[in-house]
């Protein structure tokens, strides 16, 4: 199955309540698959084609305000239109899942794969001090698995979560193992598990005394600062508890490539090629881009000779690698842009030229 199709099945299987989206290549198959599957007849999941990504993200916001498990998906230009909504979701502390199947930019760019939205995804990407939780799948199976994971994290922290995929993984066909069909939460369960949500005062069966208000607005600076501190404490807890990564042949490595998503797939071939030549190369693949595996990289920096950050962009994640390494050893970047993809040999060449010399 295609990565994008799998996102749709995963949404249905994990008990998602609503999907709201707008077509854009290379992710349109997500909504197309949902419309074909008609989950409203089976699980009761709502699927709606909105008039724009601005509308979809605000539908997601509206649904999230009522405690439901809601999501949207898009590709780079569409995600830009969602940035206002993402800031409101983070500000009002709302859980939801956003899938970005990245394509090359800036502007309308190309419909070919890219990782040019790393900054946008990991550094907030909209106004205000906030973070999304960001997951980076590197296979069709992970596209499937990350949907449920993203919902769990989003609800654990009451924070929007993004799956940062790209056109390559979205369009790629691979075998996938489905999980069980989880039931959608009943309104009674929802009222019990999300007592903060705007469900109507009577949702708990007893009737709350006071209405619930979901807002990101606070005009008193001294209160707004406290809200910001609460958000930052949440981000610190994520950094402490939720970092996920895969380390391939890093134990004895002299050099380590840091790469995520489709780039990491290509880099694993580079590792094999390098090892065959006797170069001790490892690969560190962040699975969560936010929170970033800073500590792991800092520890590696104590014993390796250098890092190469390999990305389908002009050098974005490399900044986070450099922050983690903090000058201990050289950190270089190799990337392609505009929808062009590197091959494993090309990366090995770059490693030799930039680091081994």
């Amino acid at each position: 199955m295609k990565g994008n199709e799998v996102i749709a099945h995963a949404a249905i299987h994990c008990g998602c309540d609503g999907y709201f989206g707008y077509p854009i290549t290379p992710q349109s198959e997500v909504m197309e698959t949902l419309m074909e599957e008609k989950p409203w007849e089976t699980t009761g999941m709502v699927v709606l084609q909105a008039e724009s990504e601005t509308a979809s993200i605000n539908m997601v916001y509206g649904g999230a305000c009522t405690g439901k498990r809601v999501m949207t998906s898009s590709s780079s230009p569409g995600v830009s239109l969602m940035s206002e909504g993402m800031s409101y979701l983070a500000g009002a502390e709302l859980p939801c899942v956003i899938v970005n199947c990245q394509r090359g930019g800036p502007g309308l760019g190309t419909i070919q794969p890219s990782q040019g939205d790393y900054f946008q995804a990991c550094k907030g990407g909209a106004h205000g001090d906030f973070h999304l939780i960001v997951l980076a799948p590197n296979s069709v199976q992970e596209m499937y698995d990350h949907v449920g994971m993203a919902f769990d994290l989003a609800f654990k922290y009451r924070n929007p979560a993004m799956i940062l995929a790209d056109g390559a993984i979205g369009q790629m066909m691979e075998k996938v193992v489905f999980g069980p069909q989880k039931p959608r939460r009943t309104d009674e369960q929802l009222a019990k598990e999300e007592p903060w949500a705007a469900t109507g005062k009577g949702a708990d069966g007893k009737g709350r005394k006071k209405g619930n208000i979901i807002t990101s607005l606070e005009l008193k600076s001294e209160v707004m600062e406290v809200i910001n501190q609460r958000l930052q404490a949440k981000y610190r807890a994520m950094e402490e508890n939720e970092v996920l990564y895969e380390a391939i042949e890093c134990d004895d490595a002299d050099y380590v490539i840091v790469a995520f998503g489709s780039s990491a797939r290509i880099c694993s071939a580079t590792v094999e090629m390098a090892r065959a030549e006797g170069i001790k190369l490892g690969l560190l693949r962040p699975i969560t881009l936010y929170p970033f595996p800073t500590k792991v990289i800092a520890d590696l920096a104590k014993r390796v000779k250098g890092f190469l950050s390999v990305e389908l962009n002009a050098g974005q994640m490399v900044e986070d690698v450099r922050l983690a390494v903090n000058g201990a050893v050289p950190v270089e970047h190799y990337g392609r842009q505009g929808g062009m993809i590197f091959g494993p040999e090309e990366i090995l060449e770059a490693l030799k030229k930039k680091l081994i010399k």
Partner: protein, 254 residues
Amino acid sequence: MEKVEIKQENLVYAKPRLIKDNVMHYCPGCSHGTLHKLVAEVIDELGMEDKTIAVSPVGCSVFAYNYIDVDWIQAAHGRALACATAAKRLHPESLVFTYQGDGDMSAIGTAETIHAAARGENVVAIYVNNAIYGMTGGQMAPTTLLGMKTATTPYGRDPRLNGYPYKIAEMMAHLDGVSYVTRQSVHTPANVRKTKKALEKAFKNSLNKGGFSLVEVVATCNSGWKQTPVASNEWLEQNMLPFYPLGDIKDTIK
């Protein structure tokens, strides 16, 4: 303040049960206060206190959640009807309504508004048209009348420079998903009663899943208009109502 006991037989007026005790931030003379009272009364009379999800986007009425005691979603500027769409579809038995200004609905939120209406979402949009951006200090709105002075049309709105005002209610009446469009005001007691009836009708229509309803309320903004409350009411009658005539614009409720 000393609490005054009023004997039941002398009671002719009471604060609606769902209006909170918070001091309102609205300027004296503003229409929002009166309209809030009507909305609170109608929710209570329909027995929908426990099943209401209200949406307040950005504008003076962003703080409506401080005054009417139901569950509220505060939406981004213009996006109320996208939020309401999802809330209603995910909670189909709830009463879902938005409470929006003219800038919110007919400038920044036009797309979200027209499409929610075209889809025939079973929600009510309450549209407070004061022909100005009240909250940001009285700038021109899409509804600002020709010749009207605002902070961004200091010499009066000139169509060659600023374009023409438009009536989103009449536009929405053309859409198949829309079953009820009415324009009311709250500047006299008689109009207050009519507005309440219109709200009742619209809320019932959405609960019966009869399609989209729009209740426009032509309102005063005496601070923005730089007039006394009394003069504003007169100005509304003489200037606003000829361009925004009151009454039902569409009613296909079965």
